[in-house]
C-alpha cells in the first residue's frame, strides 16, 4: 500500500471514530412508566396539601390502644419518649433554655406525621400498619396536646386542615443564603 493510500485510510478511520465519540451520542433507555406513576406504592410521599393521603380514618381513642401495642415500647407509654424520641408535650418550649422538639411542639405539617409513620414505623415493621391504624395513631398524638379533638375522625379531609403549633416557626435559608 502506498503511503498516500495509507494516509487516506487512516484519515477515514479517525473521522468515523470522532463521530462515534461525540459527547451527546448515547442511547436513551428510559421506559415509559405512566402505569407505575399511578400506583400507590410509587406515590408514598404525601404533600402538605394532603395530596396522596389514602382513604381511611381513625380516632384518638383507637390510636391510644394501638400506641400501647405498637409504639410505647420505644416512645414510652405516654409518648413522652424512651429509647426513641418524645412525640408529645413541650409545646411552646422552643425558645426556652431547654427546648424539646416533639411532633406537637416542633413539626411543621400534620401530613408529615402520616407520611413518616407509614414509611418508617414501627421501625421493626415498616408498612405493616393499615391506613386506618395510621390515622388513629396520628389522631392520638395530635390529641395529646389538644391539636385535634376527641371522638372526631381523622381522615384524608380533616388531617391536612390541622394547623400545627409551630407551623410558622421555620425560616427557609435556601435559596437566599445558599
Amino acid at each position: 500500500m502506498s503511503t498516500l493510500i495509507k494516509t487516506i485510510v487512516i484519515s477515514i478511520c479517525v473521522f468515523y471514530t470522532l463521530i462515534s465519540l461525540a459527547e451527546s451520542d448515547y442511547q436513551k433507555l428510559g421506559k415509559k412508566a405512566d402505569h407505575l406513576s399511578q400506583q400507590a406504592h410509587w406515590n408514598l410521599t404525601i404533600l402538605p396539601s394532603g395530596e396522596h393521603l389514602p382513604k381511611g380514618s381513625g380516632t384518638a381513642a383507637q390510636g391510644a390502644k394501638l400506641f400501647a401495642l405498637k409504639c410505647a415500647g420505644c416512645h414510652g407509654s405516654e409518648a413522652i419518649g424512651a429509647s426513641a424520641e418524645p412525640l408529645v408535650g413541650e409545646v411552646g418550649s422552643l425558645s426556652s433554655d431547654y427546648p424539646e422538639k416533639t411532633v406537637n411542639s416542633y413539626w411543621r405539617n400534620p401530613t408529615t406525621l402520616f407520611d413518616y409513620i407509614r414509611r418508617a414505623m414501627p421501625i421493626n415493621a415498616p408498612f405493616s400498619l393499615t391506613h386506618d391504624q395510621i390515622y388513629a395513631l396520628c389522631a392520638y398524638i395530635f390529641n395529646k396536646d389538644d391539636i385535634f379533638l376527641d371522638n372526631v375522625e381523622l381522615n384524608q379531609d380533616t388531617l391536612p386542615k390541622i394547623t400545627m403549633p409551630n407551623h410558622s416557626g421555620f425560616v427557609a435559608i435556601y435559596p437566599s443564603q445558599n
Binding site: 415509559k32 425558645s95 422538639k101 408529615t112 418508617a120 425560616v171 435559608i173 435556601y174 435559596p175 445558599n178
Partner: protein, 420 residues
C-alpha cells in the same frame, strides 16, 4: 508466541544442563555447604517462608485492625444510627470504601440490582423508569467530593468538650471519587415541565427515606452514582444507586435511590422539617440549609495520641473542606489563636473535596493549643466556636463548623478543649 516459548524453554534446559555439569565438576563453596537455615536470627520469618496466597478481594493488614468505623446506634433499633470515619488514622484525602461514614435510618438494605428501578415522574412530559443495566450504559462523569452529615461534630454545641478521637467526633464526613450518570441527562430525557421547581427523592431502604431537593441543584452538578472509588457502591453507601450532590448535606445524597418526583413545592418530609433543621435561640428554625460550610480539622496530632519526643518536630496535618468551593487557605495556631501561620495545601486542591494541609511544628515541651482555620474561595472563613454560638445559639444541633482545638499538655498528652 509458540516459537518464542519453545526457544525460551530450550535455552532454559541448556543452561540447566550446563549448571549441572559445573556443579559436578567443582567443589561447593563454603556458604553452600552449611546445613542449618540461613540468617535465622537476623532475617524476619516473612523473608524465609513463602507468603500468603493471592486473595480475591484484599483486606487491610491484621496489624491495622484498630482502624475502624466507630458505631453509635440505638440499641433498641440497631439499624438506626451512625458510624464515624477514623479520620485520625488516615492520610491523604480519599476515604477507603470500607471506612466511609454511614448514617442509616433503618439498616442497610441488600438490594438485588436486577429488581431495582429508578422512576422519574411527576411534572415531566413522560414518566420514565430506568433499570440498573440501562443506567450502566449512559455516559458517566467522575467527581471527587466530600459528603458530610448535617449532624457532624454536633457535640460541639454542648457545654463540655467531648473527649473522643478526631474522627469519632468529626468523622461523619468522608471523601470519595463518585462515578455515575449526570442526573440532568435523565431529567431531560423525561422532559421537565416548567412548573417543576423541586424534586422529591426517595430511597428503597426500610425507612423509604424521602427529601425535597431544588431542581436547580439536580440540573447543576448532581450525579446518579453507581461507583465509589472505582468499584460499585458499597451497600452501606447506597448500592446499587445513590444521589451525590457535591457540597450539600449528607441527608440529601439519597442512597438506594428509587424515585425522583418533580413537584412545585417541597413535601415538608420528616427529614427536612423535624430533622436537619436548626433551632435558634429565638425558637425559630433554619430550614433548607443545604450547603456545608467551610471547615477544617487537625487529624494529627490529635486526641488519643501522645507526643513522644520533647523537644521534637511534629508534622501537624489535617483536612479542610467547603461545600462552597475550593479551599484557598488553612492557617494553624499553636497558641490558642493568638498567632497563625499558613499551612501547606497539598495537591490536588479540588472544588468541594477534602484538601490535605500540613505544617511542621517544633514543640519544645510547652503547653499549647493547636487549631486550624480554613478559608474557601468565596472568602468564607471558618468561625471560632464563640462566634458560631453567638450567631446560632446552642440548640442548632446541625451544621457545626467551628474551629476545633487540641490542648497539648507539658507531658505531651492531647485533649479536646474549647479555646474561644
Amino acid at each position: 508466541m509458540t516459537d518464542s516459548t519453545s526457544t525460551n524453554r530450550r535455552q532454559f534446559l541448556k543452561q540447566a544442563s550446563l549448571g549441572g555439569v559445573l556443579a559436578g565438576a567443582m567443589s561447593l563453596p563454603v556458604w553452600a555447604s552449611q546445613t542449618q537455615a540461613q540468617f535465622p536470627d537476623t532475617l524476619p520469618e516473612w523473608m524465609r517462608k513463602p507468603g500468603d496466597n493471592f486473595s480475591n478481594y484484599g483486606q487491610p493488614s491484621p496489624y491495622e485492625q484498630q482502624v475502624i468505623r466507630w458505631i453509635s446506634a440505638n440499641p433498641d433499633a440497631p439499624g438506626n444510627g451512625v458510624s464515624w470515619t477514623p479520620l485520625h488514622d488516615l492520610q491523604g484525602t480519599i476515604t477507603p470504601n470500607g471506612l466511609h461514614y454511614e448514617r442509616h435510618h433503618n439498616g442497610v438494605p441488600q438490594i438485588d440490582p436486577a429488581q431495582h428501578l429508578l422512576l422519574v415522574d411527576g411534572l415531566v412530559q413522560q414518566p420514565l423508569s430506568f433499570d440498573i443495566s440501562s443506567l450502566l450504559r449512559y455516559p458517566m462523569v467522575s467527581r471527587t467530593c466530600f459528603i458530610e452529615c448535617g449532624g457532624n461534630s454536633n457535640s460541639g454545641w454542648k457545654n463540655n468538650p467531648i473527649q473522643s478521637k478526631a474522627g469519632y467526633a468529626h468523622g461523619l464526613v468522608s471523601n470519595a471519587e463518585w462515578t455515575g450518570v449526570p442526573v440532568k441527562l435523565l431529567l431531560e430525557e423525561a422532559g421537565i415541565k416548567s412548573a417543576a421547581k423541586w424534586i422529591i427523592a426517595e430511597g428503597a431502604d426500610a425507612a423509604a427515606l424521602n427529601v425535597s431537593i431544588p431542581l436547580e441543584k439536580l440540573l447543576d452538578d448532581a450525579i446518579l452514582a453507581l461507583y465509589q472509588n472505582g468499584e460499585r457502591l458499597r451497600p452501606e453507601n447506597g448500592y446499587p444507586l445513590r444521589l451525590v450532590l457535591p457540597g450539600w448535606e449528607g441527608i440529601l445524597n439519597v442512597k438506594w435511590l428509587r424515585q425522583l418526583r418533580l413537584v412545585e413545592q417541597p413535601a415538608m418530609t420528616r427529614d427536612e422539617t423535624a430533622q436537619y433543621t436548626e433551632l435558634q435561640a429565638d425558637g425559630s428554625a433554619r430550614q433548607f440549609t443545604f450547603v456545608m460550610d467551610v471547615k477544617s480539622l487537625i487529624t494529627s496530632p490529635s486526641l488519643g495520641m501522645v507526643l513522644p519526643d520533647n523537644p521534637g518536630i511534629y508534622q501537624v496535618s489535617g483536612l479542610a473542606w467547603s461545600g462552597r468551593g475550593k479551599i484557598t487557605r488553612v492557617e494553624i495556631s499553636a497558641d490558642g489563636g493568638q498567632t497563625w501561620l499558613d499551612a501547606k495545601l497539598h495537591d490536588p486542591v479540588l472544588d468541594r473535596a477534602f484538601t490535605r494541609f500540613s505544617l511542621p511544628w517544633h514543640w519544645q515541651g510547652q503547653y499549647a493549643i493547636l487549631q486550624s482555620r480554613a478559608s474557601d474561595e468565596t472568602g468564607a472563613v471558618q468561625p471560632s466556636r464563640s462566634a458560631l454560638i453567638e450567631q446560632r445559639g446552642h440548640h442548632g444541633f446541625f451544621h457545626y463548623n467551628a474551629i476545633i482545638s487540641w490542648e497539648i499538655t507539658e507531658s505531651g498528652d492531647i485533649n479536646h478543649v474549647y479555646a474561644d
